[in-house]
Symmetry: C2
Subunit: 304 residues, 2 copies
């Protein structure tokens, strides 16, 4: 057998492509159509990546190690796989595919890792500030449908950080319900609540994602924003942000979540302003932000 | 802002592609050329997968959960990320790219998870059987270069399973050095050792990879084989298997590692056979298997 020509055709020149075809064929008897489509697409793109980039054995070992470390750092409070998805822009891509918006509807963006279920229900105009966290800000506006009609009884679930950069869920010292709350719109679709001006913050960067950002010359910062999930019977739920239009990092959000239509001005207001909320004594800001929901069922959805 | 036309161009129809371009551009200032190439190729193929398959939010959440569970089941003795790589055919693809072989050279295949470093050194002809494990088998042949010349002093690191399907490293009851060993070739390039006839076995299927195999209609079995790593000064190390040409699952190896050129006959031999090794009393097999190494430096390597 040594030295002589190989029996059958020489496989050397076609082998990687043949392996790929064999793997794809192995899924052919999968009875779940969608699963077969997904796993074959995954295999095809994974193989294309490996072949095109000509991944070496050493590089693949490093990739396995990075995935292993990602598993090790992930626990109930830290989800490093979601962070990879965010930092590679995949979360925003999935969001864009799931929520193509007709013109005029408020755009969606990532939920992020800091949402906590069952935020306290609060009344119109109430504050979500449970300890000093920066300059008070009056957030207000209306929830509307795409025809401009107000939606009464819509729920806004809001959460944000303050001047220490932290969300309450990240800070064992903070009151549990600090800087978050659920509000209902009034009959005219209006909402209003008192929060603070949010601050830019870095995504957790002491793990594999942080190492990737440093190695590739990227930074971990997100521009200042406040989160909202808006839901109302008969409408598609909307997960979005309000970005501070003057924030740093709007052009380089570490998770690619900025959309121009979501930028808002934080308007400086004085203590003497007659509209000053009762709970405010010094300087404050106001942010007007209407939110436009799409009817459920998606008849007016563009296909992308 | 409600209801009216969006300022600037309508982004709805191009958004996913725009997101993808933004993510690729974010890596443009990476100073390490190879890293930039790798991370951009990864992002491009990952995004193409998500867009082409139109991954939903629910499907992406499931993918994150599967990765998280893969991390949880991985420890010092179990590497579920490598198992994914094997079961998706990526390990074989990386191997094929790393080791294109000129005609006549022995083909490589995956190392698998059961190799253990520092196997015991054993003399020509010795047995690796330290407790009863099936029918004794005499493995023998020569290590040669591609011109057919013998390579003296080449090391064969061999490991295998027996009739209980387990490698010693999987079995706390088995002697630590059972069914493994390192042998050197003699002046004429020959080697010989006594092992057993190996048996098919399932890859670990009580985790996420096993669930994938069941859901897609695949099985976890590998055909019977024995592993070898062959190394000699001046030659490229060779990681390969000898497959039992009569084994089940040769056409559906769960990790896609079978190459036709690696199949060998296990020849039945009688107790009366004059070549019977001294340690054998009953029925036995013999397997002849020459191994052809490629000179280091790769001058004769095909590019694929």
């Amino acid at each position: 057998m040594a030295g002589g020509p190989r029996e059958g055709r020489s496989l050397s020149l076609v082998r990687p492509k043949e392996i790929s075809e064999t793997v794809l064929a192995s899924f052919q008897s999968c009875e779940d159509d969608r699963l077969r489509e997904l796993i074959q697409a995954l295999a095809r793109h994974l193989h294309a990546f490996v072949m095109e980039a000509r991944i070496t054995e050493h590089e693949w070992e490093q990739a396995i190690r990075v995935l292993t470390e990602t598993g090790q750092i992930t626990d109930e409070r830290r989800q490093e796989f979601v962070l990879w998805s965010d930092a590679m822009g995949v979360s925003m891509l999935v969001d864009a595919l799931a929520h193509p918006k007709p013109a005029g509807a408020t755009e969606s963006t990532v939920r992020g890792p800091f949402w906590v279920p069952d935020s306290p229900r609060r009344e119109y105009g109430e504050s979500i500030i449970e300890q000093d966290s920066g300059t008070p800000t009056w957030f207000y506006g209306r929830v509307l449908d795409t025809a401009g009609q107000p939606i009464a009884g819509a729920e806004l679930d809001v959460w944000q950080n303050g001047e220490d950069r932290l969300y309450a869920v990240q800070d064992p010292e903070a009151p549990e319900e600090h800087l978050r709350g659920r509000f209902l719109t009034r009959d005219d679709g209006s909402y209003g609540f008192l929060g603070v001006r949010p601050t830019p913050y870095p995504i957790p960067d002491d793990g594999p994602v942080g190492r990737m950002l440093r190695a590739t010359g990227r930074h971990p910062w997100r521009p200042a924003h406040i989160h909202m999930i808006v839901s109302a019977s008969g409408y598609e739920p909307l997960t979005t942000h309000v970005f501070d239009a003057r924030s740093a990092y709007l052009d380089s959000d570490a998770v690619f979540a900025v959309k121009r239509s979501l930028l808002r001005d934080f308007v400086p207001r004085s203590p003497e302003d007659p509209d000053r909320p009762a709970a405010v004594s010094g300087e404050w800001y106001s942010v007007e932000n209407d939110l436009v929901l799409v009817a459920a069922g998606g008849a007016d959805r563009p296909r992308i």
